[in-house]
Subunit: 309 residues, 2 copies
């Protein structure tokens, strides 16, 4: 196995399907991932939108095996493997590398707040050293609004200096363009993925790697198309159109809304289940969401067929 | 096995000993717990101060087995079993009940922020129902500054109504006396443990159950004595003395400072290890801490002997 290339393009933090008893459903996840790949969208499985932290480490390892065993392309897989506990992060990361994933997306440990860069450096160092595999490619995950533990520029600088062949990039979900721009300027070659497609064009123009966005669960084709064709004359018009959808989605609780949309367009209402502490959309929210989507002539081409396969 | 009584008195969120390679050391934990019990202090193992979220669920299950197999009193054990993922919370909680623990201390799932009481109710319900053991006694854990997910009065009310024989009490680490007082008034019989001994006397006078406090790791005897003798004439003087120690400790990063004190008074410097993202005290902080303790004539009676046993 060769060392993976740096990842680029658009990846979806794939929502995780649960049955009525809240068990994860590997079969439906495989079919969803296959559909996303058919839309030129990579698989950032086990992200925030995947309810990854509502899954045990063992569940995530089993689901990854199910995806890889189904023959899905590991060159497009960036599973989330960060965890509060180093042993969990090591076991998930080791497994992802062994199964050939091109990268892993690593949250910092997020229970303690106000921790030092020194402590975060030691956390990432421990995981990298305990995994001990030269094929490991780590993408950091900066999402201060949710994790409450930011990844600072000085931490990135130190990690890049110590692990230049392993620390490959970052997902920045802060929404703070100044931070994204600072990383692009300060760390050439560092793969910067905004966590939101509303800055995709601007990011590509500034040397960004693509994006990893919640909405790529339902609008993967259009987002991937803009990432691939950001130099086309109609790029701004495409950006504007996808912004409209994104901003509408943000009016709803994002994860339940993504699942409600997938449930509707796949025709499989089981998709609506979320694990606590999340709750599914109310009937009123669901109707309002579907009306907004319908108003836009929104479609998820091929989804129903893919899920019925 | 009979249904456990409600717990009361003082419990220590026992710090977890790690070796230089960051592996948890069950032998030293057993000896530390034995010493705490000898000081009339119960064992709230796997709490915030135990770096519990830096341990995997399997590590916690193994450590609990080590403690129970060593013959420590399960009637004084309240392991932390809350987790972001329901399967982890269920496996740890089930195991604790099976091994005879008198209660479990359950954090809410703490990754997602701004979640609804409905979602938190479903989380606790799922765990209680999946564990399905009438001997389960749940103590909720309210620590909004760290978990960022508060336990509201209306959530407690709903849980008490649905699970009156299971939801037994709460640890309130908010530091907000108004919240503690509101619970004592609104929920008679609900075991309320402040997370800080500076309100111990006030709490006992208002019907509180005791306390579960970081500092009980190093000052268990005095805190337990006040909880037992809060009606004595010298209670306020004892409260003032322990407040002085507590406030001094709060000037340092608490968990590394607790471990530094134990390392010093036990004579076993291995105690200083913490898992990332925490970092041990600097040499300067360590000297300053020991000077402050020395100035107060501080002692940990019997600790060195207990750890050498």
């Amino acid at each position: 196995m060769n060392k993976p290339e740096k990842m680029s393009g658009v990846l979806s933090p794939v929502v995780t399907p649960f049955n009525a008893d809240l068990k994860a459903d590997g079969g439906r996840l495989v079919r969803q991932c296959r559909w996303l790949l058919s839309q030129n969208c990579g698989l950032a499985i086990f992200g925030t939108n995947s309810e990854a932290n509502s899954l045990s480490a063992d569940e995530k390892i089993d689901l990854l095996d199910t995806l890889v065993d189904a023959g899905l392309d590991t060159a497009r897989m960036m599973p989330g493997t960060g965890a509060c506990a180093i042993p969990d992060a090591v076991s998930m990361t080791s497994h992802a590398v062994k199964r050939g994933c091109a990268g892993v997306l690593m949250l910092p440990p997020f229970y303690y707040k106000g921790v030092s860069d020194e402590g975060l450096f030691r956390y990432y160092s421990e995981v990298i050293q305990q995994v001990g595999d030269s094929n490991l490619m780590v993408y950091l995950y900066h999402f201060p609004q949710v994790s409450q533990v930011p990844i600072s520029l000085s931490l990135i600088e130190r990690l890049l200096k110590e692990y230049p062949d392993t620390v490959a990039g970052i997902k920045d979900s802060s929404g703070d363009w100044n931070n994204m721009e600072a990383m692009l300027k300060q760390f050439p070659g560092f793969a910067m993925f905004p966590g939101n497609e509303t800055v995709l064009l601007k990011s590509m123009q500034s040397g960004g790697a693509g994006c990893i966005s919640a909405t790529a669960n339902i609008n993967p084709g259009a987002i991937a198309d803009l990432a691939a064709n950001w130099q086309a004359v109609d790029a701004q018009a495409k950006q504007d159109e996808m912004n409209d959808l994104r901003l509408m989605m943000q009016e709803f609780p994002m994860i339940p809304a993504l699942k409600a949309a997938i449930a509707h367009y796949s025709g499989d209402l089981e998709w609506r289940h979320v694990r606590p502490p999340l709750v599914e959309l109310t009937a009123e929210q669901n109707s309002a969401l579907l009306a907004e989507l319908d108003k836009r002539g929104f479609k998820m081409p091929g989804l129903a067929e893919a899920q019925a396969a």
